[in-house]
Amino acid sequence: MPLEALLWLIPFPPLAAFFVILLFTRSHRRLSHTVAIGLLAVSWLLAMVVIAGAVRTKGLAEHPIGSSVPWIPTGGTVLSIGTLVDPLGAVTLFFVAWTLLAIFIYSVGYHNFGQPRGEHDTPGLPPHGAHAKDANGTERAVPSVEPLYSRFFAFISLFAFGMLLLVVSDNLLTLFVGWEIMGLCSYLLIGFWYGKDSAKRAAVKAFLTTRVGDVFMLLGLATLYTQTGSLSYRTLFSHEVLAHLAETPSYIPGLSMAALAGLLLFMGTVGKSAQWPLHVWLPDAMEGPTPVSALIHAATMVSAGVYLIVRSFPLLTAGLEHGSSFTLSVIAFIGAFSALFAATIALAQNDIKRVLAYSTISQLGYMVAAVGIGAYVAAAFHLLTHAFFKALLFLGSGSVIHGVEHGVLHTGNHHIDPQDMFNMGGLRRRMPLTFATFLIGGLALSGFPLITAGFWSKDEILADAFGHGHLVVFLTLALAAFLTAFYTARQITLTFLGEPRTEEARHAHESVWTMTAPLVLLSVFAIAAGWVGIPEHFPGLGGLVPNWFHEFVGSTLGEVPEAVAFSAVPLLTSIGVAFAGLLLGWLVYRRVPAGAVDPVARLLGPVHSLLKSKYYFDEIYDFILIRPLRWFGETFVYQWMDRGLIDGVLHGIARLAAALGTFFRRAIDLPVINGFGDLVGASTKRAGQSLRVLQTGRVQQYLLIGLVNIVVVGALLFYLSALRP
């Protein structure tokens, strides 16, 4: 079968899984996860076949695999839908397929498949654990299975459909459809434990915050469509169309249409990839189950934002020939700022998942900044490696939380927060496999030199920033890299090293194989994914393997961008900050006793509390946006406009109508119509009553009356006939 046809099929098996689970297999857990994983594996297989074909194709960039069909006729033009795999698409499809598969399998273990049902578990709340008898007959607390187990798999299957649709799409419209499907799934899965108030709020917050970006993105699509009559990448990013867009002035003076559309699309990225100032939803999204955090809020959905700007890179650079680099400057600023900003917040978070959430914002900021400085291959490279190691870290943190929850079930002390890193410590002995894989992920995140994937991609971004003379961006990112290494060391040290700080951590337990196997799988990628992109001029290692990634992805643009010249400065910086951060983090946190204050909090004082409360962004948004909007909604629109004005008019009309009705009733209905009806009834009744006396029931009387009548009538007839002549 040709690859074009296979490409069309990739997104649909998970969609089928969604419907099958919801409609048929919901009550059957094993069947539900078998359907979800099985059909995802079909998609995975198709994706691998397509990728294998794509990699072997010569000149894939000029002749990408794909086809399109007309979809919606709109007057003179037709909106087409289609599929496309070019080098960028192939790379994205690769990490999406692998992380989806790993996380689907992980979810089986994470939701305690095979464990008994909890006595107090209710749908919409995390399972509380159950009591079961072990082999010796003693009763013990064990984890209990998730009450809405099948529903979880249905939702992540739908999500997988959205993500695969986005990746294989050949136009911005179907990309947007997949984008919004993922937004919905994100909402549903953050609010998966809808019984928790915080989860409900987080779901609504995530949905509304990303909606802000999505509206701008839709405006961007509309701008592009009205200007060019097409949303297909191949039309849109052709030289003539881009030149036309770059020359057409927009509604805003000083901005070309290309710049305007680029900025609007970038707003979509800001929302979806949680960049400042729309970053607030991502940390709260950690209320969802951990596989969701790994899948949606680290590896795939938030990556879609970066994918979008990497994809529309030709559009963003369209203005460059005319000397307008405004769009790129905005992107570089937002990205670099988010990278540093989120890294500082991550320093002061104690929740193991929240640290990773801010780290995700920070790393996405790296990629956005890389696009902003024109290093589009580096951005795609970091997108690839980050998806693997961040999914790994999230799944590892889920495994850790599971382990500590095991300890909580053992001790029965439910006041211990199993996500607080200060309640952990020494877990390396209890959970060796999780420790090893988490260490690999953490080292990749902090850019540990040479062996981890994160080093190669991060180094490439730094080298590009330095090589192209963006010194401010370079310094910001280098500082962020230092902070990243520091908080990663803090996280690993607090969680796994030292001695257990609580009884719960002492009784933690290694997770089941369905959870650890994906960890191992992802940790392989977290190391090996970097080898495809080793720069040619790297001392020692360069040239041993060709810099395949640069050639392959770089060709998407038509011509491979010139690899940046090797310079020792960014390399040494990159190695230096990674080592310094890791070492410092380990030194500061290696001997934190139970109940101790964070040593950095003592050092930084008020700055630390500023970081801990996330620069009060939630409070500021609450003050300047949410409360005025609430007032506008509740007081102005509801109380004044709706109840006062509109209801007032309506009530006035109603009162008038009621008065008119009363008048008609009193003047016409009651006296005339009712009076007539009553009169007929009453007179009939009266007539009956007066005639009633005749009806005696005595036959003889009737006969008598008949006789009298006959006599009278006979007499009358006789008399009348006698009168006739």
């Binding site: 029931g697 005595r698 036959v699 003889q700 006969l703 008598l704 006789l707």
Partner: protein, 102 residues
């Protein structure tokens, strides 16, 4: 020969006697007897008219015979009803047979 009017006068007298019995008597048997009288008065008229006005045709006699038959049947049914009423109510007074009265 006796004129027709004499027969008619006798028949009318007989009819009035029967009618009086039907209207005035309380006993159901007596009422039934009154009806018989009235029927026979009619018979008398029928036979008289036949004899005097159309002796060649048999229809008058035939009518009389039919009335006999109907009278006999009526007497039989009427008496059966009265006996049945008597068994039920221990009375043969027509006014007291008021089961259907509201």
């Amino acid at each position: 020969m006796v004129p027709l009017s004499w027969y008619l006068i006798v028949a009318a007298a007989l009819f009035c006697l029967g009618l009086y019995g039907v209207l005035a008597r309380r006993n159901s048997v007596a009422i039934l007897m009154g009806i018989e009288l009235m029927l026979n008065a009619v018979n008398l008229n029928l036979v008289a008219f036949w004899r005097y006005l159309a002796p060649a045709r048999m229809s008058g006699q035939v009518f009389a015979v039919i009335v006999f038959a109907v009278a006999a049947a009526e007497a039989a049914v009427g008496l059966a009803l009265i006996i049945s009423l008597y068994r039920l109510r221990r009375t043969v007074v027509a006014d007291e047979a008021d089961l259907l009265r509201g």
